[in-house]
């Protein structure tokens, strides 16, 4: 399959009637990268994937594969592989015929089809099931057929549309590792759509976080995790405490905000001036019990294995979420502190 060095999306957009599903997506994908498109449902990530695949014609922008414009090509001539959310296996074909389908479409010699199909079946460890129909397989096995079917063609780009969302929790963890292993061992370039931030963080080289059809942030998992570019991204990346406050004073990137009778110092993310309304974001695990500053009453405690998720009502009535290994009881008075540098202040 024809490989590329770089795939560029320039201002890619898609409208459905009066509704914009995707607006001005600019993204450049390097060969060998694992990119995750991440966002809540309806954010445009699947639209972006389908546009890239050619299954959905663009209504704006262009896609370039090195110097060749490909957004006007039909999907079957782009040479990309795709794994679908519900696997989309051909129900009337056996596992072997499903995997061989793409090779046959390319009219490869019979011997080569047989050899490559057998190798792909072995790679995903489905030898015993090769003659079964998809309906006779478990979810995890169907998933592996779908991956083998997409990768047996050695496509220049593999697109995955929430491939793990139909699996149970344990299988999902296993398949994560499996997909990442295949990506590395086959030297694939992968674009992976998911709404699960943990999945995206653990698998991808780069994340593209989307919201309401627009890109919010592109960065490495670490960048997106520790420095979300907007409070929307922060919300999506697990910053459960989002407090709308008024900035007291600003010095450099340090912002102080008043909360429940005390002041907290956070790092400005974007342009913030004194007196502005801001959104202060902090993760539950970055609020420490027994610190100093905030005081409140424990209302709800959920046991979550090693940790407890605690909901605390501060003196001014604000509710905050705290994760702690410490045991506390509902009704207890507690003091809270913020880990240094972990309070992010966004313009609202």
């Amino acid at each position: 399959m024809r490989q590329f060095d770089r795939l560029r999306l320039e201002g890619v957009g898609r409208r459905f009637g009066a509704a914009d599903a995707l607006i001005g997506l600019d993204l450049s994908i390097e060969r060998g990268e694992f990119i995750a498109l991440l966002g809540p449902s309806g954010c445009g990530k699947s639209t972006a994937l389908n546009c890239l695949a050619g299954l959905l014609p663009l209504t704006a922008g262009a896609i370039w594969q090195d110097d060749r414009r490909i957004d006007t090509l039909p999907p079957e001539r782009r040479g990309f592989g795709m794994v679908f959310q519900n696997y989309a296996l051909f129900p009337h074909l056996t596992v072997r015929d499903n995997i061989a389908f793409g090779l046959r479409m390319r009219r490869l010699p019979k011997d080569e089809v047989r050899r490559r199909t057998a190798a792909a079946i072995e790679m995903v460890r489905l030898d015993e099931h090769a003659s079964k129909l998809p309906g006779q397989l478990s979810g995890g096995q169907q998933q592996r057929v779908a991956i083998a079917r997409a990768t047996v063609l050695e496509p220049s780009l593999v697109l995955m549309d929430e491939p793990l969302s139909n699996l149970d929790a344990k299988l999902r963890l296993e398949m994560r590792t499996e997909i990442r292993r295949l990506h590395q061992s086959l030297g694939l370039t992968t674009v992976y759509v998911t709404h699960d931030q943990e999945e995206a963080l653990s698998m991808a080289d780069r994340l593209v976080v989307m919201r309401a059809g627009r890109v919010q942030q592109i960065g490495t998992p670490e960048e997106v995790h520790t420095k979300p570019s907007t409070w929307h991204v922060a919300d999506f990346m697990g910053y459960r405490n989002l407090l709308t406050l008024k900035a007291d004073s600003v010095t450099g990137s340090q912002v102080t905000v008043p909360l429940a009778g005390t002041t907290l110092t956070g790092t400005a993310q974007g342009v913030v001036a004194a007196g502005d309304e801001v959104v202060a974001a902090v993760r539950p695990e970055d609020l420490k019990l027994g610190g100093e500053g905030l005081k409140g009453l424990v209302e709800v405690v959920e046991y979550q294995g090693r940790e407890h998720a605690v909901e605390v009502v501060l003196d001014d009535g604000t509710r905050v979420h705290v994760r702690t290994e410490q045991r506390v009881d509902p009704g207890a008075q507690v003091a809270l502190g913020v880990s240094p540098g972990r309070l992010l202040v966004y313009p609202s």
Binding site: G54, F84, Q85, L89, F90
Partner: protein, 279 residues
């Protein structure tokens, strides 16, 4: 649930009695034709005075039934083949895609089913005569296509909607062009739908009276039209040989029906609505 529905309340008895009454009369209607066709003389008695099979031979010769039946089968076969060829691709687009003017297109396809056949049958026959199609087989086939193509579209649409569009997308991503998607993926998955609509069109065409009646010539009558002519010319032929012909028509319809019901649900014969699968 099922116990409750059959519980013997007075209303239940009344309803079952109504159903039984309907079926008794239905059996009487069909049975009297059947008995008469085997009867020798039947005046003012419960059953004929004797039984014979001679009327079948008479009917076969007098009405030229061999020719009539072969015309019926040929015309119906052509109508089935053409309406599936024309209707199935249209059903595919209407099931899968939204485009400007879709509602108008859909309505135009539905109208031939909603209009009484005589309404469009008379102008259609006039046009077919003008262009020299009417009076022989081609006119019969063309006229019968008018309600059949919409019927194929209506029957096929739910079957197509059941095929996940992502399966087609998957085939495309694997390099299949439109032709290959149709031949290798859709056709095998739609076999039940194709069979169902073909059988239903066959049953309807064999039974279609008005359109065939308006466009057929002496050599292109189907069985139901021949039956009508022999009935309205009553008195010329023995009543019993008309009955024998009616029985042959019934037998042909019943054979088709038995075949049809192997592939479709009774409800589908009248509507596109499919009955629920067992829970």
């Amino acid at each position: 649930m099922s116990n409750r529905s059959i519980r013997a309340t007075p209303t239940a008895w009344f309803i079952w009695a109504a159903v039984v009454f309907f079926f008794v009369n239905l059996a009487g209607v069909v049975g009297s034709v059947l008995v008469s066709s085997f009867g020798q003389k039947w005046f003012d008695t419960w059953v004929p005075s004797g039984f014979t099979t001679q009327w079948y031979g008479d009917a076969w010769r007098e009405f030229g039934l061999l020719q009539v039946i072969s015309v019926t089968l040929l015309a119906s076969g052509l109508v089935v083949a053409l309406s599936v060829l024309v209707g199935a691709p249209a059903a595919y687009v209407l099931a899968r895609q939204n485009f400007p003017g879709k509602r108008l297109v859909y309505l135009t396809f539905l109208l031939p089913i909603l209009m009484p056949p005589i309404t469009y049958g008379i102008p259609l026959a006039t046009v077919l005569y003008k262009f020299g199609f009417a009076g022989h087989l081609s006119g019969v086939v063309l006229a019968n296509l008018v309600p059949s193509v919409p019927f194929v579209i209506l029957t096929m649409t739910p079957f197509i909607e059941q095929v996940d569009p992502r399966i087609e997308s998957a085939a495309r991503m694997l390099g299949a062009n439109t032709r290959a998607v149709f031949l290798k993926i859709l056709a095998p998955l739609l076999v039940p739908g194709l069979l169902a609509s073909a059988i239903l069109v066959l049953v309807r065409t064999v039974g279609m009276f008005e359109l065939t009646f308006l466009t057929a010539g002496p050599d292109s009558q189907t069985l139901v039209v021949a039956l009508y002519y022999s009935m309205s010319a009553a008195g010329i032929r023995a009543q019993q040989s008309v009955d024998a012909m009616a029985v042959m028509y019934t037998a042909m319809m019943l054979v088709l029906l038995v075949v049809a019901l192997r592939f479709v649900n009774p409800t589908q014969l009248v509507a596109r609505v499919k009955e629920e699968p067992p829970e």
